[in-house]
Amino acid sequence: MAARAFTKGLLGFRHVGAAKVKFSINGQHFATASSIKSPEIQIQSFTEKVPNPPLEKHDHFRLSELFTLKDLFDARVHLGHKKGCRHRLMEPYLYNSSLDYDILDLDKTEEHLRLALNVTAQTAYRGGIILFVSRRRQFCHLVETTAKECGEYAHTRYWQGGLLTNAHIQYGQGVRLPDLIIFLSTLNNVFQQHVAIRDAAKMNIPTIGVVDSNCNPSSITYPVPGNDDTPVAMELYCRLFKMSINRAKDKRRQMELLQGLSEPSSSSS
């Protein structure tokens, strides 16, 4: 029950629906798409062995060292689109606009980005599946390489209709859906909101999204207001996410090794 309280803040949106198999291991909820089989019991042992880092302790992985405000400015993260493209819901995140070009507030960006990186790291620590999504052809290769290097997953191609909502037909029975989706660009090639944002919300999957001044930040769990058009900015984001995931995984491996060393002495559950 204590474990349940831990995960409430992180994955509190996971109300498992009636149609899905309610599969909860040690407080960590999984919403699998299959109604017959569920993932093997080895996930149980994954969380049993190593205690999860406390979520109350802000920035357990010291991810604030990864970037500074100056880095964001140098990567031109604050540059937005023109006033005509501005989305109404992005107005709170704008600092100013000069010559009709919107400028995003980097203080807010920094705060949101820290939160997003923390969420990523905590998910990666618990062995969650992270999916990188971006429909920008310019950065498709970059995003896929980033995902490959972290050991996570990417989808920068045409999004077929039922990939999340119709998963047991698309992929087969017993597939495990992503536990976190990171949008490095929330718009698709026709400047409409990416279908995956709506689908992830339907499937109770938390999302992180880099929202530019022409994007809608409402359905995204952890929006990060920032520029998604410049290559420098995209490289910065990819680097930051990759580093946070790698840090979390390394920490996990360290803790498992420590647990493994101390196991003969302590009594196992």
């Binding site: 993932p39 093997e40 080895q42 996930i43 994954f46 062995g127 599946i129 999916l131 290769h141 896929e144 390489t145 995902a147 490959k148 050991g151 996570e152 997953y153 990417a154 989808h155 191609r157 077929q160 990939l163 698309q170 992929y171 087969g172 017993g174 597939v175 495990r176 992503p178």
Partner: protein
């Protein structure tokens, strides 16, 4: 398999049905099988032996296991006596098509990083391809920076090759792709080929190219061989309908013809068949020069004669000049006759003959 073994311990209808379903594996051990099938077959055989040594067993497949043809006749009784209507077994690979194994590990995490796209092999191929394009561009930029960029670098020798077709690509990737995807793939490949330093990734490009078979319109002339006595001879094969023949033409000078060990006069009493045999020799004007030794099987007398004629004409090519060979081809001696017996259709008396039409 544990459940199968358990069920076998109690003779019942269910176990008999399971025996039937694995009958194929048991009765045809000479089929080249998967390791799984083999081990299963052997295991099942062992267990069945134990089972059927039981004195009260009413189903003694023990004798039937060893006599597979009698067992087929027993287990598949059929009112059809046509040889071609006999049941035949397909290889397990044809029955169970190649499927992809489960794509994720025991913790549920998929193995491939592009799993969630749906078409992981195709997209990973595109990713790899684009990476190679970028690599070539980087190499070219480096050379340009150093000033070593040559205008005429080594080109890939494509020769007579074509890109893999969509079906062939699907077969390599083991997943279906749309025609749009295929076009994109070819576009990117062409773009890579158009770059001057594409020879860096030659091996990768050639993997997706298919050599065109040199379809020569020229007749393949059988080689002229020499036997121990120094006599030239050549061998050729011919077919017509269901007859298959093989002929050895020797440059003896006797004009003797032996078919299946018999003299041709005895084998073909009818003049028409003997004329068919002689026609190629008469056409080439070498009637008495060669000695023929033939074997023929299948079909009737006329088709056997036709098969032999084709074989003789082919064998003669190695003794004749190009123009004479061309003349033979023009005469139609070298073309195998494509006509075969047309099947009988239901609702008709024969292949073409309909039933008698009655007005009322």
């Amino acid at each position: 398999w544990c459940s199968l073994i358990q069920s076998l311990s109690k003779p019942s209808c269910n176990s008999v049905m399971m025996l039937f379903s694995h009958f194929q594996l048991l009765i045809f051990p000479e089929l080249e099988m998967n390791k799984i099938f083999e081990s299963v077959c052997f295991f099942f055989f062992l267990v069945s032996i134990n089972f059927f040594n039981h004195p009260l067993s009413f189903w003694s497949l023990y004798t039937i296991i060893h006599d597979r043809f009698r067992s087929i006749a027993y287990l598949f009784p059929s009112g059809l006596f046509e040889k071609k209507a006999r049941p035949f077994m397909k290889h397990p690979d044809e029955v169970f098509p190649k499927q992809r194994a489960v794509q994720w590990g025991p913790d549920g995490r998929p193995f491939h990083f592009l799993f969630y796209t749906g078409k992981q092999s195709y997209y990973s191929l595109m990713h790899e391809l684009y990476a190679k394009v970028l690599n070539i561009e980087k190499h070219q930029d480096r050379l340009r920076a150093k000033g070593l960029f040559s205008a005429e670098p080594k080109q890939i020798s494509l020769g007579t090759s074509r890109w893999l077709t969509k079906e062939e690509l699907e077969a390599t990737l083991v997943e279906t792709i749309s025609s749009h995807d295929y076009d994109r793939f070819i576009q990117l490949m062409e773009r890579m080929l158009s770059m001057p330093y594409s020879s860096l990734e030659e091996e990768f490009i050639l993997r997706y190219r298919q050599q065109l078979e040199a379809q020569s319109m020229h007749q393949i002339v059988p080689p002229l061989q020499k036997d121990e006595k120094g006599v030239d001879f050549s061998t050729a094969e011919g077919k017509r309908k269901t007859s298959r023949s093989s002929v050895v033409v020797r440059d003896c000078g006797s004009g003797r013809i032996t078919i299946n060990g018999e003299d041709y006069l005895h084998y073909f009493p009818v003049l028409q068949d003997r004329e068919q045999l002689m026609f190629p020799l008469q056409f080439a004007g070498v009637l008495g020069r060669f000695d023929l030794e033939a074997t023929v099987s299948g079909g009737g007398r006329s088709s056997q004669a036709g098969a032999l004629r084709l074989a003789i004409s082919k064998a003669l090519l190695s003794f004749l000049s190009e123009t004479e060979g061309e003349a033979m081809r023009q005469a139609g001696l070298l073309t195998p006759d494509p006509r075969v017996r047309e099947r009988k259709k239901p609702g008709q008396e024969g292949a073409r003959r309909k039933f008698t039409w009655k007005k009322r």
